[in-house]
Amino acid sequence: MTAPQQRAALRDLRRTRQRRRLGDTEWFDVAYRVYLFALGGLIGIVLASDAIGGVIGDDVTRNDLVTRGPSAAGLVIVIACGLGLRSGADGGPVSIEVADVSHLLLAPVERRDVLLRPVVQRLRSAMFSIALPVGVLGQFVAREVEGSRVAWAAAGAAFGALTGATFVASAMLGHTLRLPRWTATTIGAALLGWQAVAVSATWTDSAGSVRVGPANLAGSIALWGIRQRGVDVVAVVVVGAAVVLALVLAGRLRIEPLVRRGRLVSQLRFAATVQDLRTVVLLRRQLRAETLRSTPWFSGWFTSGPSAAGSRLRSIGGSSTPMFVFRRGLRSLRRLPLARVIRITTLAVVAGVCASLAVTASLLLLVGLLAALFLLGMESIEPLSQEVDRPDVTDSVPIQRGHLFTYHLAAPAVLLAFAGLIGAAAATAVEPSHAAAAYAICIPIAWAGALGPAVGAVLDAATPIAVADTTLLGTPRDAEVSFVPPEFAGFSNAFATFMPVAISALGVLPLLAIRADPTAATAIRAALGIVLVIALALVWIRRRDAWGVKIRAFFAAGREQKAAATS
């Protein structure tokens, strides 16, 4: 039990820091951002709700929703539970400042008194951040089925909040009960498998199969816009009990992962603040304690080190620079941790399923496809990211960096080709008649998805002085000062964030064509179009510096002519 005077010290410490934070806040700036966000969000929702049709698929009846909806929505809850258990086994879901670990958790104060607040904050943010978009999705659904917009939005928000609570409670229980990773994975996989069987049974109307999944009641809450069942409250009670148990056990959070996560989370927050998605992905991997394997998955062709002399790949590739860089990429890939291999495989399967269902059912699944393709790209361009993040090393080799960057895309292309084939297999499993189109287009789509992250990474690379020592307007780059007004700075930040996603969206465009004409011929034509765009992007990456030099020279010549004319 914490003594009253120590409890008072803890309270005073937090109040002092909170007062200081609030004192440093630019309230006008915050109000302006909230206003912009709310206005933009509202306009976006109104426009999108008019523009988007077929959210839940064509020809879906009330009966379909009621019979199939609970198990399908329950999948989301089960996935949240599985991810939460994994997160807990990896030391999540809570992160606190390292200073709190050093000064509060090492002080003779009950750890629960220290940790309860960050746990509640995590719970609150998870519930809100999922409830908001699912609530918005709910009011989209309301346009296509019976039930008011308010009812569907409220049902969506309630289901989202329940999903967030499930994730945090599972993670807390996984952490505080010290579940080993394999146990968390096994429990998550078992729940997912059970729920998947229930979904399959209700979807195919197969008699004799298990139609009740572990999260059917929770999934049913998503349908409260159309019907409300008292028994569904049992799901809320179960999740609520898990949350209460998690809060009771908050003091058992392990200090070692809190230290590790505390160090990374401040960097992660900064990266998220400046919308540096690559760094966010990298730090999230570190948060999960993912390290490359010390023992490669396979050796032989790809053997490195002194024993590699005369290895088969070396003899095949020779000593040319592109092959050397390609080998370096392959060596990186063969050390991918199991968790990342599973993640890449899962993303590929999700992409395949979303693509297939986007053709036959709801167009909204294109969003899922885009997210999966983009994340696949982020996962695979590691060799290029490493190069971009070490400009001193890039500048020290006698190779034009644009060429080097393109060479670094070769190994990811191999990985993405495999991922594409997995996605095609998943799409075929969902809809066997899509097989030809799926296999025809899977690899170009996977490459196109990675194009956004690749272009984003290349744009992140600092321009060396040797390439350009001035801005376009002739100002020395080391004297460059930004006088961009905040509104435009915000716009350029948003552009830098969403531009890679927009480029990756190329990967989903062929699905629109295939939706209209689901044949292999359409797929091949779309694939050729994508390959052409990818080729253009590669040319841009290779020639970007040279073009930049020419453009700068053009501007410099213009300035000289103007100066000569005025003198």
Binding site: Q5, T16, R20, A99, S102, A107, V109, E256
Partner: protein
């Protein structure tokens, strides 16, 4: 012999297949002053951080004053001076001292805090944010924070890094003073001059104990040069 303030039995730390600290059995008597030496990667920091409660043992047990690692009683008894000072970025040195002292149940802390700041030479920087300090000044602030609270044992990891001559002298004086007051000290360092003040030397190499004995018997240069361990 005084009662043990630290007692470990088979204390081990592993990361996968790599062993950072092989099973370690030691007892530290109350008021004993120990220097912990070893190469980089020898396991000194791992051992110190496990005692402080920042790392969880993979195996074995350890007690602080008879209480399990991480318990409130153990945290109350042990002060930890880390190799990398950690501060809140929005609190001044004085506020750090205030909250640390109060969190450890100390009411009359002001004069002690002033004395400590004076001893390490940063009394005029008390109202500044330590996050803005140089490495040496940060270390001085961290030293004041480690000493402002009561403790029965202090574990210290590389305390001399970044300190100027005045800071080193002040720190050694604080160690002597704490020792005179009956506190035990375990100081992990490459600064071999501090061995002279110790009663006992513990040497680690590759995570294993290579020497544990009286400071007078320890050939510290041999132990830190990687020569064969000296028999106790």
């Amino acid at each position: 012999m005084s009662a043990s303030i630290v007692s470990t039995a088979g204390l081990t730390k592993s990361y996968g297949e790599a062993t950072a600290l092989a099973p370690l059995d030691i007892d530290v008597a109350s008021g004993q002053r120990i220097t912990l030496i070893g190469h980089n990667g020898s396991g000194k920091t791992t051992f110190i951080r496990m005692l402080a409660g920042m790392l969880e043992p993979s195996n074995g047990t350890a007690t602080i004053g008879g209480h399990a690692l991480g318990s409130i009683e153990a945290r109350s008894a042990l002060s930890y001076l880390a190799d990398e000072p950690v501060f809140y970025d929005d609190l001044s040195v004085w506020e750090h001292l205030e909250f640390i002292a109060r969190l450890h149940g100390t009411d009359a802390w002001e004069q002690h805090a002033i004395d400590l700041l004076d001893a390490v030479g940063i009394v005029d920087r008390a109202d500044d944010l330590p996050m803005t300090f140089s490495r040496g000044l940060k270390q001085k602030a961290a030293i004041a924070m480690a000493f402002v609270r009561p403790f029965e044992i202090m574990v210290v990891d590389e305390p001399f890094v970044g300190l100027d001559r005045t800071g080193r002298a002040a720190l050694l004086d604080l160690f002597r003073s704490a020792h005179a007051d009956g506190a035990a000290l375990i100081v992990a360092t490459h600064e071999l001059s501090s061995v002279a003040d110790s009663e006992r030397v513990i040497a680690l190499s590759g995570g294993e104990l290579t020497f544990d004995g009286a400071a007078a018997d320890a050939d510290v240069h041999a132990l830190t040069e990687g020569l064969p361990p000296v028999e106790n």
